[in-house]
């Protein structure tokens, strides 16, 4: 039995039933404001592709493949979807990006974690995964920043995970 299993046994059993081991650590650990910034990113836009992405998994689960770098409340649990905002909120036009591998096709996709703004914290489905996250001196990869920027209100509600391109290689 490793350290992680021992720790989980001493922690909330309810949470342990509902999340993977590592995602639970992240849930119980630091929770950070998710994010977003599309216009300046040097990535191929998903709109250039014609075929939808083949994918599997539950967008309401923190283990969903697109959430590898997310940090915040999942919009799909908040009245929105994985790539749309809840009613009455405003999507931030500025964001940070992650690179996540789709287990269905093995490709690495560039994911834009746009925040939805103008209402207070949704509070559902908190998900903190920090793959390739970096401190805020790398804002292109930083999920500690409240990315409700460029919106009428900077109040953070939830985070989306929008596919905007295919990465040539995995970003570390």
């Amino acid at each position: 039995m490793n350290w992680l299993d021992r720790w989980i046994q001493n922690s909330s059993r309810t949470l342990a039933q509902n999340a993977s081991r590592r995602s639970m650590i992240r849930k119980l650990g630091t929770v950070l404001v998710g994010a977003s910034a599309v216009p300046l990113l040097p990535v191929a836009r998903a709109a250039d592709n014609t075929a939808p992405v083949s994918e599997s998994g539950d967008p309401n689960s923190c283990d969903y493949w697109r959430y590898c770098g997310i940090d915040g409340f999942l919009c799909s649990c908040c009245g929105g979807t994985v790539n749309s905002c809840p009613p009455g909120t405003e999507m931030s036009p500025i964001t940070w990006i992650g690179t996540c591998q789709n287990p269905e096709d093995g490709k690495n996709y560039i994911v834009s974690y746009n925040d939805c703004c103008g209402k207070s914290s949704c509070g559902n489905c908190l998900c903190t995964r920090n793959e390739s996250d970096k401190p805020m001196y790398r804002p292109d990869a930083a999920n500690d920043i409240n990315w409700c920027l460029g919106t009428k209100s900077t109040i953070y509600n939830c985070s989306t995970a929008i596919l905007v391109g295919v990465a040539l290689e995995k970003r570390e």
């Binding site: 992680l4 590592r22 404001v33 209402k119 920090n130 001196y137 500690d144 920027l149 900077t154 109040i155």
Partner: protein, 380 residues
């Protein structure tokens, strides 16, 4: 029984009751000392699930009961940032308000609290609606120039620093810091910021907050290879920055420009897989660095926290102790005295108190109403 007899009896009864005790004074409000005891701490509850209601809670980490521990609080609206002055016995909270709660006109403000009364005594409006909105960061709000100037980090995402003469309660200047973030006090009256290309950008200020010198250092780390945590501990003018894999860069911040010293590692050959990590992952007492460590580190584990706190002597660069935590830790702080306490924000968001010298678990603070105390500050 007629009406007259009833009135007489009522008056007798009233006289009897009022004579039995001395009425208490209405309107009393408690005060705290202007300088707090060393074992008091200030917990920043960012209230992640309702961020408009963040707060700074003053707690006595020595006290056994939740009621005795809780000394008072000030508010900190929408993931505010915190600093405090020793010379003026004041607290500063940089916070954000909207005129209709979550919408309407935005106002950013530094609210100034008296530490004894915990009442707001002044405020400085921050122009432009630029205050950085991020998770609590010690280096987003810093005092320099013998605590005369308060520096506020801005991010829109264009980055800059607003200079406030906090003694005079007025804004002096705004300094762009393109591509560089946060505030590391440097020299007599200046600061450095960390840049995406692994350099420091810095400025020297005059008495009016005007820039008299700018510089960019040589690159000293590569964020694509081994990112630097933006959270150094600073001891005697030297900032000790750690990387995700445990390399320590000592940076002399005492003169005009930062000087990067020889790097060393927290992790020895026998510690393969161990990495530093957490939210406020480190703390310091004297020359002792306390840092949260976790085994089996991986890409993305840098904010997970850890099951142990390792203690290093910053001068000898030797590990002095490994403290195994009762509950997985996410943030750590240590009081400044000779018999220090270590307060760990654990993974369930409770505050565990340990002896920082022996590592013995002493107590868990609360239960209090606080929910997400991401950063805990020293008393003064």
């Amino acid at each position: 029984m007629n009406t007259g007899r009833i009135l007489v009896m009522a008056c007798l009864f009233w006289t009897t009751v009022t004579a039995a005790f001395t009425a208490e004074t209405l309107g009393r409000v408690e005060q705290l000392p202007s300088s707090y005891p060393d074992h008091w701490v200030i917990a920043h509850d960012a209230a992640f699930f309702h961020m408009l209601e963040g707060r700074m809670v003053v707690l006595d980490a020595d006290a056994e009961t939740a009621a005795q521990q809780f000394k008072g609080m000030v508010n900190s609206s929408f993931i505010g940032q915190f600093a405090q002055s020793v010379s003026r016995s004041e607290m500063y909270v940089a916070e954000t308000f909207y005129s209709r709660g979550v919408r309407g006109e935005r106002t950013d403000v530094v609210t100034i609290y008296d530490k004894a009364t915990l009442a707001p005594v002044a405020e400085v409006i921050l122009p432009g609606g630029k205050r950085s909105s991020s998770m609590p960061e010690k280096y987003a709000l810093q005092l320099i120039d013998n605590e005369r100037m308060l520096l506020v980090f801005n991010l829109t995402p264009a980055t800059s620093v607003t200079v406030v003469d906090v003694a005079a309660r007025k804004v002096l200047n705004e300094i762009p810091t393109p591509g560089c973030v946060l505030i590391y006090p440097t020299g007599k009256r200046g600061f450095s910021s960390l840049c995406s290309n692994g350099r420091f950008f810095g400025v020297v200020l005059d008495e009016d907050g005007e820039v008299v010198e700018k510089y960019r250092s040589e690159p000293f780390f590569d964020s694509n290879v081994d990112p630097l945590f933006e959270k150094p501990v600073i001891v005697d003018g030297v900032g000790y920055f750690q990387t995700f894999t445990g390399v320590v860069y000592p940076v002399d911040l005492s003169s005009t420009r930062p000087v990067v010293g020889d790097a060393w590692s927290l992790v020895g050959e026998a510690d393969e897989g161990w990495r530093p990590g957490g939210w406020q992952l480190n703390a310091v007492n004297g020359s002792n660095l306390y840092i949260l460590m976790h085994p089996e580190g991986y890409n993305g584990s840098h904010k997970d926290g850890g099951p142990e706190v390792w203690v290093f002597d910053l001068h000898s660069r030797q590990r002095r102790a490994r403290i195994k935590l009762k509950t997985w830790g996410v943030s750590v702080m240590v009081t400044p005295d000779q018999k220090p306490l270590m307060v760990v924000t654990n993974a369930e968001m409770a505050l565990d108190v340990y002896s920082a010298t022996t590592g013995e678990y002493l107590r868990t603070l609360g239960p209090h109403a606080q929910e997400t105390p991401f950063v805990v500050y020293q008393a003064n």
